[in-house]
């Protein structure tokens, strides 16, 4: 297992290297180039030229790239043209918010999706099954931002059950040692602060988790149906296994194999979905910041954040691969 982790971490290096080239070229290919972006549309040619000389944009591409890469390796990701703060600092400030949101969304998706898919498979062809299939179809088709607006309007504006925006009520006085607000509240025993942060998370997490939930439910359903008719399930019945053990050890455990892969793929979906959800709920995470950066053509932020997200995505998939090895002994042997 240790070898697998090392192997995958080693693979991360060429992946990030390739991505950095793509990012670098993409930014240079944008109309007007970085200088126009920094100075705005109405910049004078003299200003553009001065800036190009200052930042080295007039040098050959490969030299620029090498310099940029050198800076990245020293931890210098540049400065946001909008907030005038280092990109790394901006990222680290907002990252905990997005992680908190993504984790809760994933918990909802897995915690509801797997039982729902399992129940649908067991009652295959009956009302419960059809209901689940239709609901999951709706879940996959509704765009995240639309569902986010809907949830916000219904539960925050009309019913007032949940707050409509932000990470914590402005009136709440809380200390934030880690930046994970729910965790902070628990650590500092400020229970009301933790509860308040959690309430702020519910609606965005529901909106964000809806598509993964629907996908996980469908894959679980299909997988359980397939496993139920496997030879080894019949053999397990023939040797007299009782229902609880049959369901848990034989059916569910085998049915989880494709589901685990799906969950890994959902992490990417969650990170991209966060851009929309965070914007709707004015949730100050990397998603909403990235959305703003796109509108402002904040190159340093775009480059830096996309690289960071790639690392997070790769690590999340590594975690899924490791879990796959835990569920399926054959995977351990294959490596």
């Amino acid at each position: 297992m240790a070898r697998l982790v090392l192997q995958r971490l080693a693979l991360l290096i060429p992946t990030l290297f390739g991505l950095s080239i793509l990012l670098f070229l993409w930014v240079r290919a944008l109309p007007g180039g970085p200088a126009t972006a920094l100075l705005g549309e109405r910049a004078t040619p003299e200003a553009v030229e001065r800036l190009n000389r200052l930042y080295g944009f007039d040098q050959p591409l490969h030299e620029q790239y090498v310099r940029w890469l050198g800076q990245l390796l020293q931890g210098n990701f540049g400065v946001s043209s909008r907030t005038r703060l280092p990109v790394l600092e901006e990222f680290l400030n907002r990252f905990p918010a997005t992680i908190e949101l993504t984790i809760l969304a994933l918990v909802i998706a897995v915690g509801v999706g797997i039982p729902l898919g399992y129940v649908a498979a067991r009652y295959r062809g009956r009302f419960l099954d059809h209901g689940t299939v239709v609901a999951s179809l709706i879940g996959v088709t509704i765009p995240v931002f639309f569902l986010a607006f809907l949830l916000k309007y219904l539960f925050a504006v009309q019913l007032g059950w949940f707050p409509s925006a932000g990470r914590q009520s402005p009136a709440m006085i809380a200390t934030h040692p880690t930046g994970f607000y729910v965790l902070d509240g628990l650590l500092t025993r400020e229970w009301d602060a933790a509860w308040d942060a959690l309430l702020h998370l519910v609606l965005p997490a529901l909106a964000l988790g809806s598509i993964p939930l629907a996908i996980i439910a469908r894959i679980t359903r299909a997988s359980v149906i397939e496993v139920q008719s496997a030879d080894y399930v019949r053999t397990a019945k023939a040797k007299g296994l009782k229902a609880p053990r049959l369901r848990r050890r034989v059916v569910l455990r085998n049915a989880m194999l494709p589901v685990a892969t799906t969950i890994g793929l959902q992490v990417g979906l969650l990170l991209s979905g966060a851009v929309l959800t965070e914007t709707v709920f004015a949730f100050n995470g990397i998603g909403s910041f990235l959305a703003d950066a796109v509108f402002d053509l904040d190159y340093a932020v775009l480059q830096g954040f996309i690289l960071f997200i790639a690392v997070v995505y790769a690590l999340a998939n590594l975690a899924v691969d490791i879990s796959y090895g835990i569920i399926d002994p054959r995977m351990r042997a294959r490596r």
Binding site: Q7, D231, Y232, T235, L241, R330
Partner: protein, 579 residues
């Protein structure tokens, strides 16, 4: 008590049978309505007795067994009759009652060892859970017992093996684990559903011996399901023959073999390859030449071995090495020699068989012969031309592909499910630009006639055909371009015995009429005995013995060949010849 009104006569001094099936009817609900898979089946199994149900696929033999253990597919149910276990009708028990009987009263050893173990749980733990759920033993006691059970089933090093996962086991080891599992709670009746048909013959034999010994010691009654009459007769005291959902004949094994009453049993007996080769041998010993001529397929019986100076294929010192990837990040991997300095020649118009167990390299030879794999060293010549990469021009390759055609094992997966039968047979003609559409149509019709397929089937799809019909289609397709050599890779292994025998006759007949040469790859020595002129016995990549079929089969020189021959079921049976 001896007046029991059963089809199987009550044993002298017999008591209540352990299992008594009375007028059993099993139906399945399908989209086309209800189909009845078993009709009016009746037979008994007494305590400690082994009874075999024999029949081809679709005969209802497995369905009957699954009805007994209450594990019919979801859409199936017992729609009539009784299944009496110790006099109690278990069809009235309902799901929960039947579930309580499974494991403790009725156990099962399933067919395919590859798919019947839970892949994500250790082998030992899969037996421990059976012991625990049936209240036989718990915790450490159950684990100790599991090791005993695995040892009992003949698994070496059982203590360590119990900690491994199924994928770390070979097929034979898995089947031993499944036997240990089936017998773990000491059921009084064990259902063995084709317990060894997925294994190599030599492994098959040791597993069956072990199963027989174990159930004998424990006094377990066995309901053995098999398609092989020879195997049934060898292992069971009584045999039940099923055909199209009905029991057509029941009786003591010896009686059924020597004096079959029902027409279907006679056909089954005539077709069973294991018995056929036995018959040939007996016939030869008693000098009954007509019986031999009758049994041996035309080609091998009459056709004089073609002149050896006109070989169609010359395989000279061929070796194939596969590179296996290593475990580690930087490991170089290892080389695996699948075929090791193999040489043989096939005289024109004759059949060369290669026999061996899985992993012996026989299929690799076939693939090299078809030029699907290049040999690592050595040469293969076809009609004097070297097969493989060195052929300079493309036309030589096209010519080669026309002259050498394959027939593969699985008629279910080797035909394109989206092509009609017509299109399937026509395709090679089209690909090679043969004639006009009308010419091709005529040729296809003629080919269908050659392989005895009705022209009605032209517009059908492979999914609508039986296994035997599909294999005929595959043969017709192979013959479309008038090849010189046909490579049959386990071409009849997936077929029921009667169909198998028909296809073998067809191949022999075509050989005689068209002067074909065959390279016939098989694991089944009994089949080889019927079709081949020459045979190579392969073991771990090497040819260990080579010669004419009669020499090799009657006077095997190598212990491995002897072991393979001994493993054919039905060797020990007394058989009436020329009845």
């Amino acid at each position: 008590m001896t007046t029991t009104s059963g089809p199987g006569e009550a044993r002298p001094g017999g008591t209540t049978p352990l299992l008594s099936i009375r007028d059993l009817e099993v139906s399945f609900r399908t989209e086309q309505g209800t189909t009845t898979a078993v009709r009016g089946a009746s037979f008994d199994v007494h305590a400690g007795e082994t009874v075999a149900i024999v029949g081809e696929s679709g005969s209802g033999k497995s369905t009957t067994a699954m009805a007994v253990i209450g594990l019919l597919a979801q859409n199936g149910h017992v729609s009539g009759g009784q299944i009496l276990f110790e006099g109690k009708d278990i069809t009235r028990l309902g799901g929960a009652g039947l579930a309580r009987m499974r494991g403790t009263d009725i156990g099962m050893v399933p067919q395919d060892p590859m798919s019947n173990l839970n892949p994500v749980v250790r082998v030992g733990a899969q037996i421990v859970e059976a012991l625990e759920d049936n209240g036989v033993a718990r915790g450490a006691e159950a684990r100790r017992r599991t090791v005993e059970l695995l040892e009992e089933a003949g698994l070496p090093d059982a203590e360590r093996r119990a900690q491994q996962y199924p994928h770390e086991f070979s097929g034979g080891m898995r089947q031993r684990a499944l036997i240990a599992m089936g017998l773990s709670c000491r059921p009084r009746l064990l259902i063995a559903d084709e317990p060894t048909s997925a294994l190599d013959v030599t492994v098959q034999r040791t597993i069956l011996d072990r199963l027989e010994q174990l159930t004998g010691e424990l006094g377990t009654a066995v309901l053995l399901i098999t398609h092989d009459l020879g195997l049934a007769a060898e292992r069971a005291s009584r045999v039940v023959v099923m055909y199209r959902g009905e029991v057509v004949e029941t009786g003591p094994a010896a009686q059924l073999l020597t004096d079959p009453q029902h027409e279907y049993t006679r056909r089954l007996l005539a077709a069973a390859p294991s018995l056929a080769s036995r018959r040939i041998q007996i016939a030869k010993q008693s000098g009954a030449t007509e019986a031999v001529a009758d049994d041996l397929l035309a080609a091998s019986a009459e056709a004089p071995p073609a002149a050896a100076d006109d070989p169609i294929v010359e395989v000279d010192d061929v070796t194939k090495v596969f590179h296996l990837r290593g475990e580690g990040l930087f490991s170089r991997g290892t080389d695996f020699t699948a075929v090791d300095h193999v040489s043989f020649t096939i005289p024109r118009g004759s059949t060369m068989a290669i026999v061996g167990e899985s992993g012996s390299g026989k299929s690799t030879v076939a693939r090299m012969m078809l030029d699907l794999l290049p040999p690592t060293s050595g040469t293969i010549r076809f009609n004097g031309e070297v097969v493989g990469g060195e052929r300079a021009d493309r036309r030589a390759e096209v010519r080669f592909r026309r002259q050498v055609q394959p027939i593969f094992q699985d008629p279910y997966s080797s035909l394109d499910p989206l092509y009609t039968i017509y299109r399937t047979i026509e395709e090679p003609l089209r690909a090679h630009g043969e004639g006009s559409a009308a010419d091709r149509r005529e040729r296809v019709l003629q080919l269908m006639d050659d392989v005895a397929l009705s022209p009605d089937l032209l517009r059908r799809y492979p999914g609508e055909l039986s296994g035997g019909q599909r294999q005929r289609v595959a043969i017709a397709r192979a013959l479309a371009l008038n090849p010189d050599l046909v490579v049959c890779d386990e071409a009849v292994s997936a077929l029921d015995v009667i169909v198998q025998s028909q296809i073998l006759h067809l191949l022999a007949d075509l050989q005689q009429r068209l002067g074909l040469s065959y390279l016939f790859i098989s694991h089944d020595l009994a089949v080889v005995r019927q079709i081949a002129d020459q045979v190579c016995v392969m073991e771990r990549g090497r040819i260990v013995e080579q010669g004419s079929v009669d020499d090799v089969f009657d006077n095997p020189q190598q212990p491995y060949t002897q072991a393979l021959l001994d493993a054919i079921p039905g060797r020990s049976l007394a058989l009436a010849v020329g009845d």
